[in-house]
């Protein structure tokens, strides 16, 4: 084999140098919406851990708490145990469906307004702008030699970023232990090492992702922009450059000349303001693209220019592909927010939410599970009876001890015994379970001497909570020779 000429080839550089993005300051409707979303998101993040919720003496009084040492999750009136982790599955399904719905209605609103990457990048950009100035000054500062002024600005910026990052990372820890206690311990250096470690890790990720990586996260690390392409359709409202109105681009003067000649002239004056304000550095006029997080800041920028040159606003707008086609045909804009796709999503959300709500409202404070002992399957006792062993697990989710009375039925004449439970009159067994705990109780069920139970008989265990009257019924089998 010889190497063909085509195979000796210069592959070019190994990497693409990232084009640094210097988003310009902008104001308008969507910028305002983004600020509101930012303050709500940050407000919830920082205030939530300090909200109190009274659960009685034996449970934590923090409204939202992930208690890892005790394997409990608390959210207001909800307390979840590890075996109820399916509620999180439901929550994730619900979140995904809501994301699909929002996408079918308004495109990537999540990316543009609510994603933590967007929120914190916005915050970091704000700090950068306050310290180093707007787009033009920042470009100049980057190119400038290292002077005292540049050093001062850079130190100030990175210090501010690191402080915000530390508060971000530290606040995440407040969800895992009692927030006021940790807050005090954190600053008096009495907090556990793991708290500092995780605060440090999250400080680093916040600082690097919001300060340095920014749009690179959306372009190279996040899967959502890729998935998005499969979820949008012709009726979804996406940030759109209305090229039917904007093209051909030309300056105001050229447009006047063109009009005078009776030639067509678009509204876009190619001022590049939409590109200058874009936080991911894309040109929206190239159409819907992966890099666009659809935050709408280019709409604000373009509206400002259009107002200045006295042309109608919303040359860039939340619009649909369908409407662009309609306008081409000379028809009016039409918005299909209610369509089979969105109705299906709403139905799926209602179904999932309904199931979760039903499960939450009907779940009990106690639980009984029964496991038949497999070795031996049954025992021929010295007294002549047949005995089966069962491992019962009682759960008590209340914040006070619960007393259960256990009865067994289905196999005639049997008696129960257990080294853990107290025998009660009429053959029942009494089991006391500590607050917020489970208890494993081995129970032996024995037939009278010389009884001949079949190879397999259904047997029913019924546990009744003395205080609440809640009944847990479990059916298992009684085995014999």
């Amino acid at each position: 084999m010889t190497i063909g000429a085509e195979e000796i080839y210069d592959d070019g550089p190994l990497y693409a140098a990232a084009k640094k993005v210097y988003p310009q300051k902008v104001s308008g409707t969507y910028r305002r919406l983004k600020w509101i979303a930012l303050w709500i998101a940050l407000g919830v993040y920082y205030i939530l851990p300090f909200v109190r919720w009274n659960r009685g003496p034996n449970a934590p009084s923090q409204a939202v708490l992930v208690d890892i040492p005790h394997s409990r999750f608390y959210a207001f009136f909800i307390e979840l145990w590890p075996q109820e982790v399916y509620y999180f599955t439901g929550l994730l399904i619900l979140a995904a469906l809501i994301l699909f719905l929002s996408n079918a209605l308004f495109g990537r609103v999540w990316c543009g307004y609510a994603c933590p990457q967007t929120v914190w990048t916005d915050l970091f950009l704000f700090i950068e702008r306050v310290i180093e100035g707007d787009r033009r000054e920042r470009i100049k500062l980057d190119e400038a030699h290292w002077t005292a002024d540049k050093i001062t600005k850079r130190v100030a910026k990175h210090t501010a970023w690191l402080l915000i990052a530390l508060f971000t990372g530290g606040a995440a820890m407040l969800y895992f232990v009692d927030a006021p206690t940790l807050l005090k311990e954190f600053f008096t250096l009495e907090a556990p090492f793991i708290a500092y470690l995780w605060a440090g890790i999250l400080t680093f990720t916040t600082y690097s992702l919001a300060g340095h990586m920014r749009e690179q996260v959306c372009l190279y690390m996040c899967p959502w922009p890729r998935i998005q392409a499969a979820l949008t359709d012709n009726d979804a409202l996406n940030v759109t450059y209305r090229f039917d109105r904007g093209e051909p681009r030309m300056s105001v003067k050229d447009a006047a000349k063109a009009h005078a000649r009776g030639e067509p002239a678009g509204d876009c004056i190619d001022c590049m303001q939409c590109v200058a304000v874009c936080p991911t550095g894309v040109d929206i006029r190239k159409g819907s693209q992966m890099g666009c997080i659809q935050c709408g800041l280019c709409i604000d920028a373009c509206d400002a220019v259009m107002t200045k040159i006295k042309r109608p606003i919303r040359l860039i707008a939340y619009d649909t592909d369908e409407n662009r086609e309609r306008r081409k045909r000379g028809e009016k804009n039409l918005y299909h927010l209610i369509r089979p796709r969105t109705l299906l999503y709403v139905a799926a959300i209602a179904l999932t939410g309904g199931i979760m709500l039903y499960a939450l409202l009907t779940r009990t404070n106690s639980h009984l599970s029964v496991l038949h002992v497999r070795a031996p399957l049954y025992t021929q006792t010295a007294e002549g009876g047949i005995r089966n062993g069962y491992t019962l697990r009682f759960s008590n989710k209340l914040s006070e001890p619960s007393d259960f009375a256990l009865t067994v039925g289905g196999v005639p004449g049997v008696t129960m015994s257990s080294v853990v439970a107290e025998p009660l009159p009429d053959g029942r067994l009494g089991v006391r379970v500590d607050p917020d705990a489970t208890l494993e109780v081995p129970v032996y069920v024995t037939t009278p001497p010389d009884a001949t139970p079949g190879a397999s008989t259904p047997i029913t265990f019924t546990a009744v909570d003395a205080k609440t009257g809640e009944r847990s019924v479990v059916v298992d089998h009684f085995f014999g020779p």
Binding site: Y9, D10, L219, V373, T379, E383, V420, Y444
Partner: protein, 291 residues
């Protein structure tokens, strides 16, 4: 072509890598620089990892790594830490007697968990995973005990073993009635059939059970008692429970009477610590057969 290496895709305006499949050229979309640096970083990390951990195979062994870390050492440290944590939990078991443990729900919970683990590690090869036994090895769940089924008796049996190398071990010796010529084969046939009748089993057809009863009275009652119910003080078996360690077939019983059995159990007091033995006693007692 070498003279014109950079080719440009006409539609996208992007350069291509020059790789071509059926006329389709792959667009050159390089990764960002930070991604490349991260890749270099992982290479650097792998070199450091290579040096710190044992990873170089040598002719007959391997390079130990800079700090001598081994997975076995890490596991040993984890086990030691686990045992320290367990010792703290099981601290209450040290002073308490087995009866006190059985009466205290908290101690009982710990002892049952400890005992279950220790039983799995030490006892299941003979007594089965659930204490159900197997031919030749006693069933611990049935309530039929050679040396007694109270907590104390179980603890003593586990500690000192049976016919074990221990001064306080349980010892009893059933004579090999056939092998040693004490009983003739016909007499053994008769006593076996009688023994089967006292456990409500069918005697061998045509065998003189009354004669067997007399042989039993002459040779067996000293240990097994007149009613055949045995005696846990001397380790003689109860013959009336339908639970048989060596089987109740005529063949099995004939073999037992002819050769005697006299099996053994180690003295676990020499192998296990007192807390583990107490936990084992409590656990075995809880398996349904405890007295």
């Amino acid at each position: 072509m070498i003279t014109d290496p950079v080719q440009v895709d006409k539609i996208s305006g992007q350069t291509t890598t020059g790789h071509e499949w059926d006329g389709i050229r792959e667009l050159n979309t390089p990764l960002p620089r930070w991604w490349l640096y991260l890749f270099y970083l992982t290479i650097a990390f792998s070199v450091v990892y290579w040096m710190v951990y044992p990873s170089w195979p040598l002719v007959s062994s391997y390079a130990p790594g800079l700090f001598g870390t081994t997975n076995r050492g890490l596991v040993a440290a984890d086990i030691a830490a686990g045992q320290a944590a367990r010792a703290q939990m099981a601290g209450g078991l040290e002073k308490a007697t087995v009866d006190q443990i059985a009466a205290d729900p908290k101690l009982l919970e710990i002892a049952l968990a400890e005992g279950k683990a220790a039983f799995g590690d030490n006892c299941t090869p003979c007594h089965g995973s659930g204490g159900q036994g197997q031919p030749g090895y006693p069933n611990l769940t049935a309530g039929r005990w050679l040396w007694g089924g109270t907590l104390d008796q179980i603890q003593t049996t586990i500690t000192h073993g049976i016919r074990a190398d221990d001064p306080d071990t349980h010892t009893s010796a059933m004579p090999a009635f056939g092998k040693d010529g004490i009983l003739k084969p016909e007499e053994i046939r008769e006593v076996v059939s009688y023994v089967r009748t006292i456990d409500k089993l069918e005697p061998e057809p045509g065998v003189d059970v009354a004669a067997g009863k007399k042989i039993f009275a002459d040779n067996c009652v000293a240990c097994h008692g007149e009613d055949g119910k045995g005696n846990t003080d001397m380790g003689s078996a109860n013959l009336t429970t339908k639970v048989w360690q060596y089987g109740s077939d005529i063949k099995d019983l004939t073999s037992t009477v002819t050769y005697a059995r006299n099996s053994t159990m180690p003295a676990w007091g020499k192998r296990l610590d007192p807390v583990t033995i107490k936990s084992l006693a409590v656990y075995v007692h809880s398996l349904g057969g405890g007295k």
